[in-house]
Structure formats: structure tokens, C-alpha cells
Symmetry: C2
Subunit: 332 residues, 2 copies
């Protein structure tokens, strides 16, 4: 699966390296795994293939010198999170790696973190590519979903409840600590940090929701709730009212001041929770699905026919939230 051109310095140990760290006993998901021009998958009869790709670049998606084991986990987790948001069952993935050099310790740790998560979801590494270059990781992930059961962004309807899995904001709080935007107690940072480094893709919840008979809209929150929710509103041509004080803050963020709680739950980033909608008549079914997936869910608002996003507090009073300003702030 090489695409090496003569411009490239040969990574002399490339084949040994692949064998040593990335070739494993086969789990049997694929007809043909690593080692040929292509991998071969035999899709289950009647099922559709869900596909997502993410490119993570050092200094942009993760700090230079990031812990390789956690990075291996996170690189796959953000892709599995996309499958979760579609309701698909993970099957396989490919890995393209650009590495400044072949550091055995780094490769050992990276592959260990990646495969620990892959094994948890029976997701097989079926192929890839390695090259020397700036550290970058491109994973493409494949899942299966029954026709008509995908959780699409265009399926939100006026009157639907708006739901969030898990908690929001701790990853953003950890980043604020690292960046020294705010002074964080070391214990608070230690509590928040795993949410930034080792997100949990909500695969079981996505699958449980997609198995429900009624269509739901869903996506995974990677860039902050407000920005990501807007994609559902745009695709479904609806609006929403968000109960800002119902948003479940992560355990570290929960101890911070109200203004920060609101800001980091609404416009954090790296949450990798699911945001989804469901008819109000389906509340019990949603709660049962979440229970079967062992994943907490919280109802945080409603979908409206009126376009735009409105904010209310616990008392139902309208709030003005300058989310645009936060986006700017968090980005610069």
C-alpha cells in the first residue's frame, strides 16, 4: 500500500517496523488485512458501510511531545466517535503515519494505546502507510449500519428533545490549565486531563439509539456544542432552545464559577460526546437505550421550527450569550 515516490528518502526499516508494531494476529473481520495493495472487507449482506477520516497534526490537534500511548488512543477515538455519531458498529480502520523517525519506544506506546481501544470495539487495523515527515496521523474508519438506521444530521424535527451524552467541558478546562488561561489546582487539572487526552467514543450509545424504531439526528461534539449543534440545525432546517443550566458539566468543571461552566459546556471542544434529538414521546426509549449502553444522557433543550439558537437559564429566562466571542477567544 506504498505510494513512495523517488523524492522520498526510503524509510529503510519500514517493512520491519510495520510488522513489528502494527501487524497482529488476525481478528477475522477482514478477508485480507495488511500486506497487499489493498485490504479486502466482505460487508455483511444488506448492511451499509459508514466511513470517516480524520487527520491529526502535531502542534494543532495535540501538543508536540504528547504521550504516545494516549495519542494512539485519541487518534482512533476521534474516528470511532464519528461512527458512534452515525450509530454504526466499528469493523476496521486504516492508519497512515507520517513520522520524523522510527522511534521504537514511541511506536510501541502509540500502537499499544491504539490497539487497546481497537480491541475494545473489535475494530481491526487492515492497512496503512508510513512515511517520514512531520508527525501526523490519518485514520480512516469503517463501520456497519442497517439501511435507514443511520443517525443523520438532517433528521431533527421541531418538537424533538435535545439530548447530550456524558458531560461537557472538562477537556476544555484541562486545555485552559495547560495554556494557563486560568490558574487550576493540580488536582483539578489531574481530574480534567483524561477527558482531553483519552476521550471515550460513545459507540454503544450510538448503536443503541440507531436501533430505536424512530429516526434521530446526532453528531459528536468535537468543536464545542454550540458550533456543532448548528450543523444539525442547518442540515435539518430547524432552530433550538438550549437550557444552559441543564448542560452537564464534567466533574472538574462542575467546581468552577458559573460563567466558566457555561462557557466551557457551550463552547469547549474535544468533548466527543453525542448530541442527539428524539421525539418527546421517545423519552423512555432513549433512557432505556442509554441504560443499555451504560452511558448517562441529559435532556438539555428542544428543537424549534423557528430558525436560530436560543439560550434560557434554569428558570426558563432568556439569556444573551456571546458565543461568537468565545469561539474567537478559544481559537486565538
Amino acid at each position: 500500500m506504498q505510494a513512495r515516490s523517488p523524492v522520498e528518502w526510503p524509510m529503510l526499516s519500514e517493512f520491519d517496523l510495520i510488522k513489528r508494531y502494527f501487524r497482529r494476529a488476525r481478528t477475522g473481520n477482514a478477508v485480507l488485512g495488511i500486506g497487499d495493495d489493498c485490504a479486502l472487507l466482505a460487508p455483511s449482506p444488506g448492511m451499509q458501510t459508514a466511513i470517516s477520516t480524520d487527520l491529526l497534526v502535531e502542534g494543532r490537534h495535540f501538543f508536540a511531545g504528547a504521550d504516545a500511548r494516549m495519542l494512539g488512543h485519541k487518534s482512533l477515538a476521534v474516528n470511532l466517535s464519528d461512527l458512534a455519531a452515525m450509530g454504526a458498529k466499528p469493523v476496521a480502520f486504516t492508519l497512515a503515519l507520517s513520522l520524523p523517525g522510527a522511534d521504537p519506544e514511541w511506536l510501541e506506546a502509540f500502537s499499544t494505546g491504539m490497539f487497546a481501544l481497537a480491541d475494545l470495539h473489535d475494530c481491526e487495523l487492515i492497512g496503512g502507510d508510513t512515511t517520514r515527515g512531520p508527525l501526523a496521523i490519518c485514520i480512516t474508519v469503517f463501520g456497519e449500519i442497517a439501511p435507514g438506521h443511520a443517525l443523520r444530521r438532517d433528521a431533527a424535527r421541531a418538537g424533538h428533545d435535545l439530548w447530550i451524552s456524558g458531560t461537557l467541558g472538562d477537556a476544555r478546562l484541562a486545555l485552559a490549565g495547560y495554556w494557563k488561561e486560568i490558574a487550576l489546582d493540580p488536582e483539578v487539572l489531574a481530574l480534567a486531563a483524561p477527558r482531553m487526552h483519552q476521550p471515550t467514543p460513545r459507540v454503544e450509545l450510538g448503536r443503541a439509539l440507531s436501533a430505536l424504531p424512530i429516526g434521530h439526528a446526532a453528531l459528536d461534539i468535537s468543536d464545542g456544542l454550540v458550533g456543532d449543534l448548528q450543523h444539525i440545525l442547518d442540515a435539518s432546517k430547524v432552530g433550538a432552545t438550549l437550557d444552559v443550566d441543564a448542560l452537564p458539566a464534567g466533574p472538574a468543571l462542575a467546581g468552577q464559577a458559573l460563567a466558566l461552566r457555561r462557557r466551557f459546556t457551550l463552547a469547549g471542544g474535544d468533548d466527543y460526546e453525542l448530541c442527539f434529538t428524539a421525539p418527546a414521546s421517545q423519552r423512555d426509549a432513549v433512557i432505556a437505550a442509554a441504560g443499555s449502553a451504560n452511558t448517562p444522557v441529559t435532556r438539555v433543550g428542544t428543537i424549534d421550527a423557528q430558525p436560530g439558537l436560543r439560550f434560557v437559564d434554569a428558570a426558563g429566562k432568556a439569556l444573551e450569550m456571546d458565543v461568537q466571542g468565545w469561539d474567537h477567544f478559544s481559537g486565538e
Copy 2:
């Protein structure tokens, strides 16, 4: 399909950029294309999915400042070449792009080159990811193939003929010209250069070979014939005898001295021709398949039970070829 973490500076125009250059009228291959957490493919009943991924990094796989239109072509071509080597029919691809900035001229040219080739093969862009970072392109490509028809590296058998599509060495000759390893007439460089910048994936030939009733081994030659052929020999646990003077040199290389012709046909790079094997009884069938694919093929040797790779000249006389030394040379 984002995986942006808060470490990332938001690429403010990312969504506009995707819409403008990469979102197109649907060709209908996918159930769901760009714009959700995952794309959805509905595999044809009974068919297997062939998957390959390649990561191209600036300064390694292409020169800094490379022509964007040709780069768009080449990025997809090297992936389609992997489908060709498997005998699969192209269906769709994903594109992950790391860009130093959003340069409209570059994006326009890159997408034009990429889509021109994609359209030729009815291969639909179904999803992707964009980020700021060092220029890098990761494409993952999906094709369809009937079970048992894939051209696998482990299918070579003693007594098989060894075949090559098209011609070899012109891409390497162009590189030698750019690098000033050798002094090339401008007309010779102009003749050779398209083979380096705009390779032709042998999709039709691969599909025609995979439709033949008898199993064949195949791969695409990206790192030089000798090195790549070794993968077939290893996977099939066989050896080979190569008629060095039967190797078809490209039109530019054909005018060079014998020693250079031999070296660049045997250990060039970026050829993206198919190297394949077939029983001697299938010669007419292979030639008919190549004719139907409008692709020249040349018989260049035989597969042997004895391990290792042997070289002979036109008279059948054994040749000593220090290919290892060339590899070293071309790589450093």
C-alpha cells in the same frame, strides 16, 4: 467529520472552503456523501470492498511548490493504482488535507486535477477532513471486487509468466534530470516529466485481469520493479528470472545508454505500472485482456520454484546486477 481539538487554531473558512472546492453534484455512488459524521456506502450485493490508503508529504513524495493540479491528479492516481493492482472497480474516496493556508488558487487547481481523474473512473469524493499544518494529503480509496477475483501477491506459481504493463523508468529519469544526477536535454526531460507528475493508474487492465478465470498475482510498481517484485516472491514463496533486456523502457529512457536503461527500468520508482503473473497457458487471454483495456503489456520473465531473483540478458545469459547498490544510490 472533524476531529479538531482545542489545540487547533480554527481554520475559519473551513466549511466554506470544503463547499467551494470539494462539494459537487452527487454522482450517486454513495448513499450519503460529504457533510455528516460519516459517509455511507451501500456495497453491491455479494461484492467485497477493496481499501487502500496513502499519505503524501511535501518534500518527500513531491517537491515543495509542486504544481497543484498535477499534485491533485497524482494524489488520487497512486491510490487508484492500488485498486488497479487488486483488480477492483473504483467507487469512492476520502480526502484528508493538511494545508499551510487556504490559498484559493491552489485549491482550485488541486481539486480540478483530482476531480478530472476521479471523474474518469467514476470515483466519488464522499468525505474528508481539512486542517492547517504542513502540506500533506491522505487519500483512502474504496473499490469493489467479486469474491475470489482479487489479484493477490500470494498467487504467483512456479512456471507463471511475469508481465509488466506499459513502460518503466521515465519517472525516475525525470527525477534524475531535476536532481541533476545526469545532464538531460530539455526535450528529453519534457518527454519524461509527465510520467513523474501524472501517472496513469492501470485500472482497466487490473479489472480485465481480475475477470479472467485463472488466479494471477499482481501489484503496482511504485518503488522500483526489483524491490516491489520481491513482495510477490515473498508472499508466494517463489523466485523469478527476469529478462533485463525485455523490460520496456519509457520513450525518454529508451534513448539513454544501456546501463542507465537497465538501472532505471529495474530500480526506478513512481512507475505505477502493474507487475503481474499468469500461467503460460493464459498468454492469449492476457494479451486479449490487455487489448480490451487498451494497455500494452510485455512478458519479462518467469516465476521459478527456486527462491531468489535472477537476471538474464536478451541472449539468456546470466547477469550480475547490484540492485541493492542502486537502491542505496537512489535513496540517498
